[in-house]
């Protein structure tokens, strides 16, 4: 199976699904799921393959596809999340309008992401990138209303990014007269640092926008919260990681690790500046997330913060940091997709995702709670979930690299993460079950299945982190990093090793001991939720709930400091541009007389200048 | 003090005032003009309603409502009294004048059975599962009630004895 065939299947299947949807919705659903599963199987079979093949000659440029371990890792994540979110869509989107279009766009976005990671030259990268951006725009604005505004915000910022990309691409072409990534990479080492820096900055704008790096993040909170939940999972899980892929490609493949280390020194070097940006990306969005009341908005801001960890790991540019960043990308794809799906399931059943009005759903949706719990633990970086290992790698490289302040930001961000992760858990699932949610049911199977797969990934990679770390180590070595001493249970090293099996068994054994003690004591009486301490009085069920303003004291402290200044600035900029344009438009009065007057005035100015200043 | 009584007498018909020692004043008003008197008093500085109390004059078949009004500025303590009929006792609420009248009226409603027209919340305040006539009426037989309600419940020993036989 060649790469071209894969892309043909992916794109062709998408259109076929659309056409089939006109005939029968059931067949369309089956085909969509089958298609994503087939793609997943094909990509999985590609494991270990490397190669490059040209597939088209476009205006004299040789367009090529390329596969190596790096693109395989991203491709497998794309394919997995693509199939899981399509399965999740089956019941989530049931009964909604324009479903053919929805599935078409879902599959197209997936196919284009595969195209991005497999493209071997900058032009095909750009083409797939644009397909992805526009497909995403259409999907974000699927719900219309405020979603349209969110989509517009996204596409405007995307276009800015694409422009920056085009600039960078053409400047590279002007220097090396080729678009092929490998060719450029082999010749770029002779370029001057200033030139490299300018190219990198241009690419960083493109990928930073897609990756929602502060200060280019402002499209993300709106887009994530307005998009349909299965697509939010894709969006947050993998689509913004295309930016990460772009960063890796531009920093470590195009420019290369050796040339990169010569770009400035000390605090003023390129990767240190990027790391500082990433640290800001961790710190501020974490606390903005803390203050949100919409579950998906919390997760959206949390995505920005987690992306900060990924970029921090990649930017710091040691083999530990790179491994941590790449691993965190995989982990974030798994737990954030899981969380978005779980929130989607809750929204599907209750019709709301407002954290202030939900509560006690655990009694009705225990399975979804378990999934959310696992996702939240991964998000926190709880030991025995995959998030722990990747964050541990990032912290360790920061501490040993004598960057304790970056490490502090990363660790402190984690504590903010605990607060909002628990807020989601508590305000949706814990506490008293309000009367209106008495009839809520558990999520359907097609929602449970993808969540189970993702939670298994989270736990498995948490206990046996060696599985993905080995692949990441191969990537790291191919990019010129030092090889890591990866075992199946973590990392062995002289400055503090990691052994997840030890942690796992320690906790397991102490769990068993405590559980035995617990069982030996008298069995407790199971009571209903209205049998609750209320200073002696009886409170009817559901009337005894505390969720609103969950962290009120901390809101009062941080509210004056945590403002999305960037968004305010952009919105002001957009407002100013609009005012300017409105003002310009007044010239077009529609009367012939005024146009004649403009012409006369212009001529008069010309003549005055000619006569008075003798310019020409 | 006398000036105030004079003023009240001048404005409201059938209103009578009487000094009850230092700084204490009793104003008696007919049913119809009590609220007007309260309104007037509030406007002239007595903006604090301290309490509303009720007296059961069973022989005369009348309830007496007493509004205790005071002011923070003057040492004067006014009692505005009125008599209302005891059977199906109703009286307009004083909430529009004094907001805090609601809770006092609720209590009087519960303990005397006076219906305050316009009070939105006259739910029971102290009593649980009350089925008798309101307990503060003088024709309420307390001993009888206690005997029926509390003493009729068997003690544990009695219960066991009953069960065994």
């Amino acid at each position: 199976m060649s790469l071209e065939m894969l892309l043909v299947i992916a794109f062709g299947g998408a259109f076929l699904t659309y056409l089939l949807g006109k005939l029968s919705p059931v067949l369309r659903d089956i085909l969509a799921v089958l298609l994503t599963l087939v793609i997943l199987a094909i990509v999985a079979l590609f494991y270990g393959r490397t190669g490059e093949s040209s597939f088209m000659n476009f205006l004299g440029f040789n367009l090529s596809l390329r596969i190596n371990t790096l693109s395989w890792l991203f491709a497998i994540a794309v394919a997995t999340l693509g199939s899981l979110s399509t399965i999740f869509s089956l019941s989530y989107m049931k009964g909604k309008e324009r479903l053919d279009f929805y599935y078409l766009m879902m599959l197209i976005v997936n196919a284009s992401m595969l195209g991005i990671v497999f493209s071997g030259d900058l032009i095909s990268f750009y083409v797939f990138w644009e397909i992805m951006s526009w497909g995403t725009f259409l999907l974000i604005s699927y719900n219309r209303g405020p979603a349209l505004a969110a989509g517009l915000k996204y596409i405007v910022m995307s276009i800015v990014g694409s422009t920056a990309y085009l600039l960078g691409m053409f400047s590279l072409y002007a220097s090396y007269s080729t678009f092929n990534i490998a060719d450029i990479a082999s010749r770029i080492s002779t370029a001057s640092p200033g030139y490299l820096l300018s190219v990198l900055v241009l690419f960083s704008i493109t990928f930073g926008i897609k990756n929602a790096l502060v200060p280019l993040h402002t499209w993300l909170p709106d887009a994530h919260s307005e998009a349909p939940s299965p697509f939010s999972a894709v969006l947050s899980g993998i689509l913004i990681k295309m930016g990460t892929y772009g960063f890796v490609i531009s920093m470590y493949v195009l420019v290369g690790i050796k040339a990169l280390s010569h770009l400035g020194h000390g605090i003023l070097s390129f990767h240190f500046m990027l790391a500082i940006l990433a640290a800001v990306t961790i710190l501020v969005p974490t606390f903005i997330a803390l203050m949100q009341d919409d579950a998906k908005r919390v997760l959206a801001w949390s995505s920005i913060a987690q992306v900060g960890y990924i970029i921090l790991g990649i930017a710091i540019g040691t083999s530990l940091g790179f491994a941590g960043g790449m691993f965190h990308f995989l982990n974030h794809a798994s737990f954030k997709a899981l969380l978005f799906m779980a929130i989607g399931a809750v929204e599907y059943r209750t019709g709301t995702r407002d954290l202030n009005s939900l509560g006690g759903i655990i009694k009705k949706m225990p399975f979804t709670f378990m999934m959310t719990l696992i996702g939240a633990l991964g998000l926190i970086g709880f030991p025995l979930t995959n998030g722990f290992v990747s964050k541990w790698l990032i912290y360790k490289t920061l501490i040993l690299g004598k960057d304790p302040f970056l490490a502090f930001v990363a660790l402190f961000g984690t504590w903010g993460t605990i607060l909002y992760a628990y807020k989601i858990l508590h305000n949706i699932f814990m506490g008293q079950l309000p009367e209106e949610y008495k009839g809520v049911e558990e999520a359907p199977f097609s929602m449970k299945f993808p969540m189970v797969i993702l939670s298994i990934i989270i736990i498995l990679f948490g206990i046996l982190p060696g599985i993905p770390l080995k692949v990441i180590n191969v990537i790291g070595v191919s990019l010129g990093f030092k090889s890591l001493a990866v075992n199946i249970w973590g990392i062995a090293s002289d400055t503090g090793a990691l052994n997840t099996i030890n942690i796992f068994s320690a906790i397991l054994v102490s769990w068993i001991v405590v559980w035995l003690i617990f069982k030996a004591a008298p069995t407790s009486l199971r009571v209903e939720q209205d049998n609750n301490y209320a200073a002696g009085s009886y409170v009817p069920t559901g009337r005894y709930l505390y969720t609103a303003n969950f962290y009120a004291p901390v809101y009062r402290i941080i509210k004056p400091y945590v403002i999305d200044v960037v968004d305010i600035f952009y919105m002001a900029l957009a407002g100013a541009v609009r005012t300017l344009c409105d003002w310009t438009r007044r010239m077009y009065t529609g009367e012939l007389g005024s146009y004649v007057m403009y012409i006369m005035l212009f001529l008069a100015v010309l003549i005055t200048m000619r006569l008075g200043f003798n310019i020409w | 003090m006398d000036k105030l009584v004079g003023l009240l007498k001048g404005i409201f018909k059938d209103t009578d005032g009487e000094s009850l020692g230092k700084n204490r004043l009793r104003v008696t008003a007919p049913r119809g003009s009590v609220l007007a008197v309260l309104d007037y008093l509030k406007a002239s500085g007595f903006y604090q309603l301290k309490s509303i109390s009720c007296v059961d004059w069973m022989d005369e078949n009348e309830f007496e409502l007493v509004y205790h009004v005071a002011s923070m500025e003057s040492p004067l303590h006014l009692m505005v009294k009125t008599r209302i009929a005891r059977d199906n006792a109703t009286f307009p609420t004083a909430i529009p004048i004094f907001k805090n009248a609601g809770i006092f009226e609720r209590e009087i409603h519960e303990l005397f059975g006076v219906e305050f027209e316009g009070n939105p919340d006259l739910a029971p305040l102290f009593l649980e599962n009350w089925k008798e006539i309101p307990p503060f009426r003088k024709d309420f037989n307390m001993r009888e009630y206690v005997k029926e309600t509390y003493d009729s419940i068997p003690s544990f020993e009695e219960y066991q004895w009953q069960k065994e036989n």
């Binding site: 002696g536 009886y538 | 649980e128 307990p135 419940i153 219960y159």
Partner: protein
């Protein structure tokens, strides 16, 4: 005090534990509550006997009812009593819960607390001095030792009696029965 009697500890750990670790939730119904703070704080220091005040009935095993009980508070008392963990002990404090005391003919004060919840011990007086609380606690220790402080078992076994009396007073209760009612309940 046999607190340091190791043999007894090994023989009857549950009994000894319950004896010397009485965690009190004291229900401040009336004047009696004035007497409790001196008992718990520096003057009489009940902590040396393991008695500490706790915040919720879930944590407590000693229930002090200090003063007269109106029907409305009785509801809260029953609720609190039912929420306590077993084994639990109740002490009625002052003459009002015993027989109504000076409120013997009040329309709204219940006269005999033990008709509604089981009471293990009484401390008579109006009001009893703090020392009397210690005497009461010592008596309670004796009862626990001899296995006589079984109010909670009485409550469970005769739940239809207690629940019936409660319902006689309140009409219907808001919360469902704690234990299953036996047949032939005298529901008021």
């Amino acid at each position: 005090m046999d607190r340091n009697n190791l043999i007894k500890w090994l023989k009857e750990p549950k009994k000894m534990g319950n004896k010397y670790s009485l965690w009190a939730v004291y229900f401040s119904t009336a004047c009696g509550v004035i007497e409790v703070p001196p008992v718990l704080t520096s003057r009489w220091d009940a902590e040396r006997f393991g008695i500490i005040p706790v915040a919720t009935p879930r944590q407590a095993n000693l229930f002090l009812i200090t003063g007269y009980v109106t029907t409305k508070t009785l509801k809260a008392i029953i609720r609190t009593y039912e929420q306590m963990a077993e084994p639990k002990y109740t002490i009625g404090f002052g003459s009002c819960p015993i027989n109504g005391g000076m409120y013997w003919d009040s329309y709204n004060t219940i006269k005999h607390l033990d008709k509604y919840i089981p009471v293990d011990g009484w401390i008579a007086g109006c009001m009893p001095r703090p020392e009397a609380i210690f005497i009461g606690v010592t008596k309670l220790w004796g009862m626990i030792d001899k296995g006589l402080a079984t109010g909670y078992i009485r409550y469970r076994e005769n739940y239809d009696y207690y629940r019936g009396n409660q319902e006689k007073l309140f009409g219907s209760m808001e919360w469902p029965p704690l234990y299953t009612l036996k047949e032939g309940t005298n529901d008021g």
